[in-house]
């Protein structure tokens, strides 16, 4: 049965021309699951629209 992230992995793999062999897929999926979970934790935190990202470019 296809895992929920598999379609997304296939699409991004194609878009980035980044190969994901079948043997690596479970590990890539598990890592992506952790990365997205942690990213969502950050995403949930409301910030003012004016917030600058930490690195600021100086011309």
């Amino acid at each position: 049965m296809a895992e929920p992230l598999d379609d997304y992995i296939d699409a991004v793999s194609k878009a980035l021309a980044l190969p994901v062999e079948e043997a690596w897929r479970p590990s890539v999926r598990a890592n992506l699951d952790v990365s997205l979970r942690l990213a969502r934790l950050v995403d949930e935190f409301a910030l003012p629209d004016e917030t600058e990202p930490a690195p600021i470019f100086t011309a």
């Binding site: 690596w24 992506l32 952790v34 990365s35 950050v42 935190f45 910030l47 600058e52 930490a54």
Partner: protein, 464 residues
């Protein structure tokens, strides 16, 4: 004067400058000790013996000619193998980088150490591309813990921790993106300094996460950290993040009293996910310093999450072409994490960098009312090599991803930290002495005080 393995850099430099020991003798002693013990520790990937002997002879010639020598005269040191060393490919723990042309010039920090009289004796093992907390390396084998060689050195600067913990060299240099100086310091029972982000030049070192990468020293005493740190400070146009602040020497301040400092214990996230030994170490340090106030650092868990996101995505961006062309030459565990990192949507990364600015403001507010925060350097003492999981607060978690749970929220906003070793039995463990940006002097002063009190100490290697 004969050498002994645990001589500090300060003792060696003083003996060499005073004519009691030659730089060549100090260098030969380090080379002999590497030969004797590195078969077990596996901390070195390259020993630059010819170069070291030539440098040592040059220092001895200067002394014989009555010339002034630098504050690190004759002190052997080694560097994590992501520093450029002229004549060697900068492998950064990888198989792929071994195909690079040899570096033409040393990293800035090596040049500064040698300008102060230090003698480079080699390059050190590390986790592949610094994406590691264990010190294990699939290509070169693990660097081993000098107190129990069946255990991890910690990573990713594993060889640096192992070599200094094993007293092969008194000083090593490493890098710290999320904890890679502080974790091996903790596991190997030595002092480590992760300076303020931007304080020490990263020029001619192999990067990992540009917005989080720091370089710094390991040593067996706080004074040796200060000695090396002071020698390496200074602006460098070749690292765009390197500060233009002037030199701020810390060694002259290290013996100042600490009675004026407001010292607090980091609460919340930093008191969770710890084994009893980490609690014991923090307790000993806090008691010695008279620290009772607990300060909660808001959203530290989220800071750790944001550091993770920035790391995995910037790391993926750095390695994208290698992941396309040579995926089978990576450690599979590193490769699969990086591939996943390439798939994190861009807005998540931008939000992590915005959160970082918000969190920085919270820390700045805290440092208006305290000078020092105390936190565990690692949740536990060194795990067994190859150990996959540990049980943290009743939850079975992967070791590899969680060793840096207490270091990540601190380096995320670039604060200076000295990891001090608390010599518990049977294994040492580190405590982070965290100061406000650019106040390395304060963290080093507290570390030195703890050392004088006997609370912090680098134990003699027990596993050799």
């Amino acid at each position: 004067m004969t050498t002994k393995p645990e001589m500090t850099a300060s003792e060696i430099a003083s003996a060499v400058a005073g004519g009691k020991m030659s730089a060549l003798d100090a260098t030969e002693a380090a080379l002999a000790r590497i030969k004797q013990h590195d078969g077990v520790l596996n901390s070195f990937t390259d020993v630059t013996a010819d170069r070291a002997r030539a440098k040592a002879r040059a220092i001895d010639a200067d002394i014989a000619a009555g010339k002034t020598v630098g504050p690190l005269a004759g002190v052997p040191f080694a560097v994590k193998n992501l520093f450029d060393v002229a004549g060697l490919p900068t492998r950064a723990g990888s198989k792929i980088n071994r195909d690079l042309a040899p570096a033409k010039r040393d990293a800035t920090l090596i040049e500064r150490m040698e300008a102060a009289g230090a003698v480079l004796v080699g390059a050190l093992n590390m986790g592949e591309y610094a994406y590691d907390f264990t010190g294990e390396n699939i290509h070169d084998g693990p660097s081993r813990n000098p107190h129990d060689t069946t255990r991890m050195s910690g990573g990713s600067s594993g060889g640096s921790g192992s070599a200094v913990g094993g007293a092969l060299v008194p000083i090593a240099l490493g890098s710290d993106t999320n904890g890679s100086i502080r974790v091996p310091s903790s596991f190997c029972g030595i002092f480590g300094l992760k300076p303020t982000y931007g304080r020490l030049s990263r020029a001619r070192s192999f990067p990992f996460v540009a917005s989080l990468d720091h370089l710094g020293p390991f040593a067996r005493s706080a004074a040796d950290l200060a000695l090396a740190y002071d020698a390496m400070q200074g602006p460098d146009a070749e690292d765009s993040a390197c500060t233009t602040r002037g030199l701020e020497p810390t060694l002259p301040l290290i013996t100042n009293p600490i009675s004026d400092l407001r010292i607090a214990i980091a609460g919340g996230h930093f008191q969770k996910n710890v084994f009893p030994e980490a609690v014991e170490a923090i307790g000993r340090v806090a008691k010695a310093l008279g620290a009772t106030q607990v300060v909660d650092i808001p959203e530290a868990s989220r800071a750790r999450a944001a550091a993770y996101v920035i790391t995995t995505t910037e790391g993926a961006s750095l390695h994208l072409d290698r992941l396309r062309k040579r995926p089978n030459d990576f450690d599979p565990a590193v490769r699969d994490r990086l591939i996943a990192g390439a798939m994190v949507p861009a807005p998540m990364v931008d939000r992590a960098q915005k959160f970082r600015r918000w969190y920085r403001a919270q820390l700045a507010e805290i440092f208006k009312s305290v000078d020092v925060l105390l936190a565990p350097a690692t949740p536990c003492t060194a795990p067994k090599l190859g150990q996959v999981n540990f049980n943290l607060d009743g939850v079975e978690l992967p070791v590899r991803a969680n060793i840096g749970i207490h270091t990540q929220p601190i380096s995320f906003v670039g604060l200076p930290v000295v990891a001090v070793p608390v010599p518990l039995e049977p294994l040492p463990i580190g405590v982070q002495i965290i100061a406000a940006p650019w106040r390395e002097d304060i963290a080093l002063r507290v570390a030195h005080t703890l050392e004088k009190m006997g609370v912090a100490a680098a134990p003699a290697p027990r596993g050799l």
